[in-house]
């Protein structure tokens, strides 16, 4: 599994190994991220599995690319 964080999430995950062993789905991923990076629990973000944004719990295959996308407001 490859994780690509965007925006502020890139700051938080940067230079950190994200432990994603045994993660089967997107709910499990959100939970694992919150345990490893507690500050993430206060941040709203979208999860995309293989470039498809998912709003319901979705299975993650071992070779999937996961993107974490927070909203931006700057202009």
């Amino acid at each position: 599994m490859k994780i690509i964080p965007f925006g502020k999430l890139a700051d938080i995950l940067e230079n950190n190994v994200v432990f994603v062993d045994h993660i089967l789905d997107t709910d499990g991923l959100r939970h694992a991220l919150e345990i490893q990076f507690p500050q993430i629990s206060h941040i709203q973000y979208l999860v995309a599995v293989n470039r498809k944004i998912v709003t319901e719990n979705t299975l993650i295959s071992s070779d999937a690319t996961i993107a974490l996308l927070p909203p931006f407001s700057g202009g």
Binding site: F6, G7, K8, H42, I43, Q44, L46, A48, R51, K52, I53, T55, A67, L69, P70, P71, F72, S73, G74, G75
Partner: protein
Amino acid sequence: MNARYARQIVLPNFGISAQAALSRAKVLVIGAGGLGCPALQYLAASGVGTIGIIDHDEIELSNLHRQILFDESDIGKNKAKVAAIKLQKSNSDLSIQVFETKIDNRNALGIIREYDIVIDGSDNFPTRYVVNDACAILKIPLIYGSVFRYEGQVSVFHSPSHIDNILDRAANYRDIFPVPPAKGEVPNCLETGVLGVLTGIVGTWQASEAIKLITGIGEVLSSTILTLNMLTNTIEHFTFELHPDALFGAPSNENELSHMNYDDFCGIKSDIQEITWKKFREIYSTESVILLDVRDEYEMPKVKKFTYKSIPMNDLQSRMHELDTTKTIVVFCQTGKRSIVAAFDLMAILKLQHVLSISGGINAIDEN
């Protein structure tokens, strides 16, 4: 007309008919800032017939690194007004409408309904939500663009050629972000910085989507967010589906929109009152007040002249019950930022009518 636009009329699938469609088009640009300026410049140059510009802000020196439509002599002048003068010089055929105001729930529908397409170049969530909701109700396509440091996002919402048969609507900003983030969760350009080139690229990309929508060429980014990262040279597309529950918190008609408080909705309580230390001194001598320090224990200096209670921000939720809510609560911190958030939390959780915050925090205290 043909000589001016010859290089685009000659393009495959463009021609005289696309140029005529541009000249008939009416595009509204929300915000003549980092995104709005480049979008405006390319729209004006391409021959869009009518352009509306809405911005209440004045040009500042710190805008010039990215808002390159403006120059030093424009500092202090209204952005929409100056942009209109410059664009008119670049294309005298153009009809320009200027709105020197802030778009909000009361004026959004009246302004937006006169246009065919809206480009959102705003810099805050309340504006983004009100513009999205107004465009949804009026079924006017919205070209969204936003930036964060070296990253940008672009998408097209409410595209009339991408209506879902079952939901009877096209992709909406709320399909991906049904509720706004909490205040302070997403820093703005002022706090985090932004590379001028990035807003130029994202704003230009928005203009490109507008031209495609007007002329019918190519594919627009409906149900897709395009992201770009200047540092890694990565451009990616993320697709999304329309969500049946996405519009749960959204106004469903014009009347509901005009009564919706977007500042409240976006967690920015518009009625949090900020006061100076001088004003506090007056209140302190006449009313029963609690002065609340939400700084951490180690933060200096401590207040000497007034009795105060200390609850660090991180403990506020668990220790709120210690406060006597029959008294007026006045919150302060080091700079006046945390105290606004604290005041908002106290009002929301303790259901208080008003909590005051001291502007500038302890840094603004006058010991005399």
